[in-house]
């Protein structure tokens, strides 16, 4: 096999790996924003997922338990944001910023408290082959497949089920939902909890599947990139998934190019995915329309 082909295959594989956490977070972003809540806290929810997955894997020795813990603690932060943004009418952006501070600080605090070592956790057992899906699939493959299932499921949920219809109405005109005898605040709260669970799953992938430890700042803005993916994907599950893979590609590209292009140092190439996201949201001038009541408290 020529080096060119093997390089392409590496790039393809890395793109899939790097996309997974962004896909989960972006799907979380889609469901929250379709219900009318902008979830800036995705980053913090990923952090919570990544950290708690490591803690519980370490505690129980089972990465599956770790994965579930990651989903759970992502959802807990989702509940906090959702509750603040609905029943307490807190500004969604401000609350999201608060969530991020709490999660990042909390994980750093937890590292010292639980593992007694700042910066990074000790290594834990990684999500291995056969633990999630049959023997032949690695942990990574299993979560890639699960990601696609989630995208498919969310699409089906939003466009085909009664609850999806209500969530859409909630993000467009919550008063219409009230008039129909439903509680839009509760719908929003549930959506943001689901959003946090998905982001937590994405975070858990980062810590116990892609690698085998938690280190401070390991989410590195993926939650924010996921927000850009939601916009770039026009608030649809498949669109956001595609956009997340697009950004994942740039992250993979950065690894593949490292050391291969001498005049482009690795520090500068780290900016690639963020630049891609910046250009993506700027390039959509006049061609996107957010849900009408997105970000508007009710």
């Amino acid at each position: 096999m020529s080096t060119g082909v093997s390089l392409m295959l590496t790039l393809l594989f890395l793109t899939l790996i790097k996309s997974v956490p962004i896909v989960y977070a972006a799907l979380g972003g889609v469901i929250a924003e379709r219900a009318g809540v902008v979830n800036i806290g995705l980053e913090g929810m990923m952090t919570a997922g990544a950290f708690s997955a490591v803690v519980f894997t370490n505690l129980t020795g089972s990465p599956i338990v770790g994965l579930i813990a990651g989903v759970f603690f992502g959802a807990v932060l989702g509940f906090v944001l959702g509750f603040a943004a609905t029943f307490f009418k807190v500004d969604q952006i401000v609350a999201g910023v608060g969530i991020n501070l709490v999660a990042l600080g909390g994980a750093a605090y937890g590292l010292v408290l639980i593992f007694n070592q700042p910066g990074a956790s000790p290594q834990v057992e990684q999500l291995g082959p056969g633990q999630l899906l049959p023997q032949i699939t690695t942990g990574e493959t299993a979560l890639i497949v699960l990601g696609l299932v989630c995208a498919f499921g969310l699409n089906w949920f939003i466009y085909r089920t009664p609850w999806g219809l209500r969530i859409q109405a909630c993000g467009e005109n919550p008063r219409a939902v009230t008039d129909a005898g439903l509680n839009p605040l509760r719908l929003r709260l549930y959506s943001v909890i689901a959003s946090g669970a998905l982001a937590g799953l994405g975070g858990a992938f980062l810590s116990i599947c892609e690698v085998n430890l938690y280190s401070d700042g390991m989410t590195a803005g993926r939650g924010f990139i996921a927000l850009a993916a939601v916009i770039f994907g026009r608030w649809t599950p498949w669109g956001a998934t595609g956009a997340a893979v697009f950004f994942g590609f740039f992250e993979a590209l950065q690894y593949v190019l490292q050391g291969r292009i001498s005049w482009l140092p690795s520090d500068a190439m780290q900016a690639l995915p963020y630049l891609a996201a910046l250009f993506a949201i700027a390039g959509l001038v006049g061609r996107v329309r957010a849900p009408t009541a997105d970000g508007v408290p009710y």
């Binding site: 910023v97 408290l113 949201i281 700027a282």
Partner: protein
Amino acid sequence: MKVVLRVLAGPAGALVLAFVLAAIAMLIAGVNPVDGFGALFAGSLGGRRPIAETLVQTTALLFPALGVSLAFRTGLFNIGAEGQLLMGGLFAGAVGAHFAGPGWLVIPVLLLLGMVGGGIWGGIAGWLRARFNASEIISTLMLNFIALSLAGYLVAGPLKSPLASGAETAPLLPNGWLPAFPTIGSLGFGDTRLTISILIAIATAMVLSFVFTRTVFGYELRAAGEAPEAARRSGINMPRMTLIALALSGAVAGLGGAAIVTGVLHRFNTALSPGYGYTAIAVALVGDLNPLWVCVAAFGFGILEAGGLAMQANAGVPKDAIHVIEGLIVLVLAARRYFATRAAGAPV
């Protein structure tokens, strides 16, 4: 019940809550809160040196918090103070390393360069919003990471000091250093890190306060933030206002970066900010986006930042607990409006 709500509604409530949360964080870490708070206050207010260090932290938070306040008052969510701070420091550090001259020339030029650096970074987000309607929330966040990569690349490569072991620029010539804080009576600060940058920060707050309340520009800026459609119809050019407000917001944060380079580090490296730009959002909100109250809030957070280190060293409470508390304060303060309206008896 109503009395309880009313107390919770004020900044006093936030303060009480901060203490309660801090106590909980100490208990979780297995530390007696009396010891923990003792260490925190000894490390932040217990003497000349701790107070100087608290004021250094206050200054570092105050500039980006003022920048954030300006943007928020215009209705723009500038979450990018961190990147703007870094770019301001980068501009000042890059030129300062090679700029020889008298102090009265070098220092103002470096501070101005900081404003230019931060202003460009904020202005990019402003331009993207004005021209392409790209969400400034996302663009400022992305620009934080881009700034970090760019600065990291420059100090590891083209701007790296050949003499330094780590990735940093060559040190500033002493003429470019900000003078130490003036001696008050018998109280001198020459041996601390405290410089006149705290005075520059407070002056900046006063200028901003004047601009908001007395000038037509400030009036238009507040109109744009309070009621964008009414502002547009009053003849305000909203894209232009967006661009100017985000550039100015970035410039104020960038000034803070230059103040750290000229006042504390005397060189530039990417460790300039341990997240001041993010904490600044909390500071701005606690100060109710009012420049003068933001000064007070910055002092409060300065105590936490400076005391947090001492608390970690002397009482064994990880200093990251401070950031958890800060985040919770943001969440609670954002909820404050709810309590305020409830206490006033208005329907929710």
